[in-house]
């Protein structure tokens, strides 16, 4: 299972999907691509072994957990 967390006004909206199921994978990929096309940035979250988090733009490179941050603007 992989998880996409999209930051929003509810805190975050979490979508978990089974990477081995083509339909679930396609739905998750559509969401991922749509968000990035809208200017969002995605990050692989790595909580173990002190590995740094990493920016990711390729759906196929996603790991267990990904946080998607909406488009960044100056405040």
């Amino acid at each position: 299972m992989k998880t996409l967390r999209v930051l929003d006004s509810s805190g975050d909206t979490s979508i978990s999907f089974d990477d081995s199921t083509p339909e679930a994978r396609a739905a998750a990929r559509a969401l991922f691509d749509a968000r990035l096309a809208a200017g969002a940035t995605a990050f692989k979250i790595r909580r173990e072994h002190g590995r740094p988090d990493e920016k990711v733009t390729d759906f196929w490179a996603l790991e267990e957990e990904t946080v998607i941050v909406p488009r960044i603007v100056g405040g």
Binding site: R5, L7, D8, S9, S10, G11, D12, G39, T41, F43, I45, R47, G50, P52, D53, E54, K55, V67, V69, P70, R71, I72, V73, G74, G75
Partner: protein, 173 residues
């Protein structure tokens, strides 16, 4: 015409900052007089955002956040910034005394904003600084670097504390 566009952009930025502030868990509301800056989530989104932030912070960042409500991040170029629990100008360069303001173009709890800033600064700081607004927050010559985040938080607290009306001040006995 370009001037009008600039004004519109500025107004939109101010509106976003205001909306973020109104949607956020404002720090220290319950313990302001004691200088207690802890984020006090009062709604499910704020609680959810705080839990996510705490789960993503490194152990050192989590310890700092637990003790002071701010944490330090380091960019790939080894520049250090302090992320404060405020909804605007909350990324402090303690070395220069300047603070930066940039965040997601969405109404998010403060903890989500802090998480977004941490992830950006640690992995893609160019993206952050390309859009961030900057202002001078304090004079770095006046304080040791380690005390600067606390000084900024104290200053923000002074400016956000409600002033009592004269009718609320008890009369002398």
């Amino acid at each position: 015409m370009p001037m009008l566009g600039l004004l519109e952009q500025r107004a939109a930025g101010l509106l976003r900052a205001l909306l973020r502030h109104r949607a956020s868990g404002v720090p220290g509301e319950d313990g302001s007089e004691r200088g207690d800056f802890r984020l006090t989530p009062s709604s499910p989104p704020e609680r959810r955002a705080l839990a996510l932030l705490e789960s993503v912070l490194s152990p050192a960042q989590r310890a700092s956040f637990g003790a002071h409500s701010y944490f330090w991040v380091e960019t790939p170029q080894a520049r250090r910034f302090c992320v404060l629990p405020f909804s605007s100008f909350n990324v402090l360069d303690a070395g220069s005394g300047e603070s930066y303001c940039a965040g997601p173009a969405a109404t998010l709890p403060v903890a989500d904003l802090m998480l977004a800033q941490k992830l950006l600064l640690e992995t893609d700081p160019q993206r952050f600084f390309a859009v961030a607004n900057r202002r001078r927050e304090l004079d770095p010559a006046r304080l040791p670097e380690a005390q600067r985040p606390e000084a900024v938080m104290q200053a923000r607290l002074r400016t956000t504390m409600p002033r009592p009306r004269w009718t609320e001040v008890p009369a002398l006995p």
